[in-house]
Structures are given as structure tokens and as C-alpha cells.
């Protein structure tokens, strides 16, 4: 996907299985939102193809759009009207039968804890409640795949966990979920499989456990003259020997996290360069 001479997303190949929660991880500007816009038909790719439910986007645009629900990174709601009115408008635009709008609205609002806020104008709600409103809107036409672009950005811990629970419930009900995030705990907690994107290219894919195993199950971090260092080992004993040899109070031995994988693959070097510059 190109914007003029700039390649935002470069020859990526991603497949999401029906019924899974798939995480698309990457730092800011890596190409996550562009990928979501292409997958959800908002932007057309400059080359390549997208298939949703086996249907080619270009040949079956309307059918593909009917299968898609989208919660954008920027909360795409009419801010001057109420939660209830936004949900009704989304349902009408997606041609949900009028007699089903009320029952679906009640079901999804209850699930999100939105019922007491239905008559509040969006502009009067906090960021977390605005984001929660966007989800019932995206679900009103009962899509089979829900795209969420950084759904928990800016939410407090309680709201994030509430949202995770809701996504798990939706997934259990058969909705395939594709979410982008740069919160690794979110991906680790929610996702069956993930892909890591950096500078427009996929750099790794698999289950969170597979990615950690590939890097090494045990992590040892310690201070050195070049800043904080990280070493990864296939098993605990190997890591423990190295840790013992360091004989340093600042050294830590622990299991490898997805965050380690993410930082190794998207650029720990830049963090270390900053650390070094600050020390000088």
C-alpha cells in the first residue's frame, strides 16, 4: 500500500482463521491502521488482494462489507447526539430490520454496561465510555469479523479488562476478532495468534507462546556500560548459569514476555541509543 512514494505496508501476507482472536502488533507508524483500512475496504490497496470469508474484496464489495464490523482508532461517532441515537443510526445505515434494533441495542448495551448512559450525548462521556459506545455500533448488523484498531488506547485498567472480557464473550459467540495494539499484555492475554509488523513489513507470526519460545523461554536482563542488556536462553537452567555468572544486584532472571519479542523485532536498539545518549 503506497501513498505517493511512501510505502506504508509492503507485501504483507496475513491469514486469520475463522473464530480466532488475531493480534496485529506494531509500534506507532508501523502500518497497523493502514492495514485495517485496507482490510475493511475503506482504502483500496495499490497492489495485492484481500479475501474476507473467501470472497475477493474487489469482486464482492457489498457482501464483504456486510461481514465486517469496525471500531476505528479515532472514535468515529457523531459526538453531538446520544449513545442511543448513535446506535440506532448505525443500525439504520446497515439496514438492520427496524423491529430488531431495540432488542439488539439492549443486548449489546447491557453487555458493555452502557445502559445507564444511553441518553447521554457522546461529547459528555469520558474517553472510555465513548470507546465502549463504538463497539455496540459496530456490532448492530451482526458482523462475522470485528476489526478493532487499538481499542484500549487511553482506557484505564478497569475499562481495559472489561473490554477484554467483552471481546472474549463475543469471540465465544463465534465472532472472529482482528485487533491491532501496541500493548503486549493485551495481545498476550487475548490473542490466539499474532503478527508483528515493523516499518510496513511482517517480521514474525505465531502464537504468543511460539514467538517467546523462538526468542528463548528465559530472559536475563542486566546493566552494562552500554546500558541495560537482555539475553535470552532456551531453558531456565541455561539462563540461571548465566545469571549466576553475572554476580550483579541489578541482574534479573525471568520468563520471556511477548514485550521482549516485540522490542527485539521492532527495535530495542533505538531504546538503548536513547538510554546511552541520556547517560552522556
Amino acid at each position: 500500500m503506497k501513498y505517493g512514494d511512501f510505502t506504508a505496508v509492503d507485501h504483507i501476507d496475513v491469514s486469520v482463521r475463522q473464530g480466532e482472536i488475531f493480534g496485529f502488533l506494531g509500534p506507532n507508524g508501523a502500518g497497523k491502521t493502514t492495514t485495517v483500512k485496507v482490510l475493511t475496504t475503506i482504502t483500496h490497496p495499490t497492489s495485492g488482494e484481500v479475501r474476507i470469508g473467501g470472497l475477493d474484496q474487489r469482486d464482492h464489495l457489498e457482501a464483504v462489507r456486510a461481514e465486517i464490523g469496525l471500531v476505528q482508532q479515532h472514535i468515529a461517532l457523531d459526538k453531538d447526539i446520544s449513545v442511543r441515537e448513535n446506535i440506532i443510526c448505525h443500525a439504520l445505515l446497515h439496514k438492520v430490520p427496524r423491529h430488531e434494533i431495540q432488542s439488539r441495542m439492549v443486548r449489546f448495551s447491557d453487555a458493555m454496561g452502557l445502559t445507564p448512559y444511553l441518553d447521554q450525548v457522546i461529547n459528555d462521556l469520558s474517553g472510555g465510555w465513548k470507546r465502549k459506545t463504538a463497539i455496540p455500533c459496530a456490532l448492530m448488523h451482526q458482523p462475522s469479523i470485528l476489526f478493532l484498531d487499538e481499542p484500549t488506547a487511553g482506557l484505564d485498567t478497569q475499562s481495559r479488562h472489561m473490554l477484554w472480557d467483552m471481546l472474549r464473550t463475543l469471540n465465544r459467540q463465534g465472532v472472529t476478532i482482528f485487533l491491532t495494539t501496541h500493548y503486549m499484555d493485551e495481545a498476550e492475554s487475548l490473542c490466539d495468534r499474532v503478527s508483528v509488523i515493523s516499518r510496513g513489513k511482517i517480521v514474525d507470526s505465531g502464537t504468543p507462546r511460539e514467538l517467546c519460545d523462538r526468542l528463548g523461554r528465559t530472559a536475563v536482563e542486566y546493566d552494562s556500560p552500554d546500558g541495560r542488556q537482555y539475553r535470552y536462553f532456551r531453558d531456565w537452567n541455561e539462563g540461571k548459569s548465566f545469571y549466576a555468572s553475572l554476580n550483579s544486584e541489578s541482574a534479573v532472571i525471568r520468563g520471556t514476555h511477548l514485550e521482549d519479542v516485540f522490542l527485539e523485532e521492532t527495535g530495542r536498539e533505538s531504546c538503548q541509543a536513547i538510554e546511552k545518549a541520556l547517560r552522556v
Partner: protein, 251 residues
């Protein structure tokens, strides 16, 4: 696509704007009526008292012109700004692209807020006009011309809302296109008084023709059919331009 489906889908598109109108109707009407009322007081009473223009009192001449300029300002401003904000700030316009709604329905649906708001403002002005002059006739023809005018300028608002990306550019469009039209298109004076070269330019602008239609029906003058055709042509042109912009953005 059948006309019923086109209009039904346009109604779905307009629903969010209708909720917005219901919540803010008094604010929207008040802000849209301040300028035309100031024109009536300042020019109609202040400058025009005792003046006769084309055979009628200046107030009678001016009220249809002010109604015409209100169809432009009330409809254009509300639609253009709302679409621009929905596209650039709320990003809710992108959501509409994902819905099974045709481009024509989106364009028509987006004009409904402007037509309703413009029509309400104009009706209030015409009712007020009844107390200010005896020469003004509220006829079916006048209401039809007024609604057509509201529709055409709402379509212009859709075009601008889809084209313009930020507030400074929208202000530029207002300053160099909308504001000059409100003053120069014969709303408050006869364009016969202008030099011929200036008249050629002004005759090419849509407000000149909507003003002529509204004034002729309000004052029971000979109806300018050419102006009606030109107004229609502008409406078709704004619709087609909006359709192509949306086509580029949607597909």
C-alpha cells in the same frame, strides 16, 4: 435502483442529522436568522425607508432577496461544516462508506438537514415580512422556489464538505465564494444598476437566478423561467460533482 429505495436510504442517512436538528433547533434557527434580520433592519429600515425599487417599496423588494440569501447561507454553512467535521474530525463519514447505501442516497440524505433548516428560517422570515410590507405574497410557487433553492445550496454544501479538508480552507471558500454572492447577486439591489461586464459575471452565479425566481413569485412578477432552468442546472452540477468525489473516496 428504485426511487423508493433511493429516498428510503436517504432517510436513513439523514437520521443522525435529524437527531442533531431536534436537539439544537433553537440555536440553529437563531444563528441563521441573526444576519438576515440585521440586513432587514439596517438596509430595509435604515437606508431604504421611502425608496422605491422596480415599482415596489424597498422593503418589499429586499425581503425576497434576503430570503434567497438565507437559503444560501443557512443551507450551505450547516451542511458543508457538518460533513467536513464528520470527515476530518469525527471520522464518522468513513463508517458510512462501509454501509450498503448508494452514493446518491448519501448525497440526498446529507442535504435533508440543510433543506429543513433553510426552509424553517425562510418561512419565519416570510411570516415576519407579512408584517413589514403589503406587497409580499406567500404562494405555492414561492414555497416551491424556496425549497428548490434550499436543495441546490445544500448540494453545494455537500460538494464543499466533501472537497474541503480543514476549517481555514472552508473559511476561504466562505469569504471568496459565499459572502460575495450574498451581496452581489441582486439580493438587495437590482443588478440592472451594475456595469455590463459585472452583470455578465453576476448572471453566471446561481444566487442571481434563485433570487430572481423567489422575487418574481413573492411580488407576483413575470416568472423568469430561464432562471429556473439555470437553478436546476446548478443543482444537477453540484449533485454530479459530489457523486464523483464520493465515488473516488468510497471505491
Amino acid at each position: 435502483m428504485s426511487l423508493t429505495k433511493l429516498l428510503s436510504d436517504a432517510g436513513r442517512v439523514a437520521m443522525a442529522d435529524m437527531y442533531y436538528l431536534r436537539r439544537n433547533i433553537w440555536v440553529l434557527l437563531a444563528t441563521s436568522l441573526v444576519t438576515p434580520l440585521l440586513y432587514l433592519v439596517a438596509f430595509g429600515y435604515g437606508l431604504g425607508r421611502g425608496v422605491v425599487m422596480e415599482g415596489v417599496s424597498y422593503m418589499a423588494f429586499m425581503i425576497p432577496g434576503v430570503v434567497a440569501l438565507t437559503t444560501l447561507t443557512a443551507c450551505f454553512t450547516s451542511i458543508a461544516n457538518k460533513i467536513m467535521v464528520q470527515r476530518r474530525f469525527y471520522e464518522s463519514f468513513d463508517e458510512m462508506k462501509l454501509c450498503p447505501i448508494s452514493k446518491s442516497s448519501i448525497i440526498l440524505g446529507k442535504t435533508i438537514l440543510g433543506v429543513l433548516k433553510g426552509a424553517l428560517c425562510c418561512i419565519l422570515l416570510l411570516v415576519m415580512g407579512q408584517f413589514l410590507t403589503d406587497d409580499l405574497h406567500i404562494t405555492v410557487g414561492l414555497l416551491v422556489c424556496m425549497l428548490l433553492s434550499c436543495f441546490v445550496y445544500s448540494l453545494l454544501g455537500v460538494t464543499a464538505g466533501l472537497l474541503v479538508d480543514n476549517l481555514p480552507k472552508m473559511n476561504l471558500f466562505n469569504s471568496f465564494v459565499i459572502l460575495p454572492m450574498t451581496f452581489l447577486c441582486g439580493t438587495m439591489f437590482s443588478i440592472e444598476a451594475l456595469p455590463e461586464a459585472a452583470r455578465w459575471v453576476i448572471e453566471a452565479l446561481p444566487l442571481t437566478h434563485t433570487t430572481a425566481c423567489i422575487r418574481a413569485t413573492a411580488l407576483d412578477w413575470l416568472f423568469p423561467w430561464t432562471s429556473l432552468v439555470v437553478t436546476f442546472a446548478y443543482g444537477v452540477m453540484f449533485f454530479v460533482i459530489s457523486w464523483f468525489i464520493l465515488d473516488r473516496q468510497k471505491e
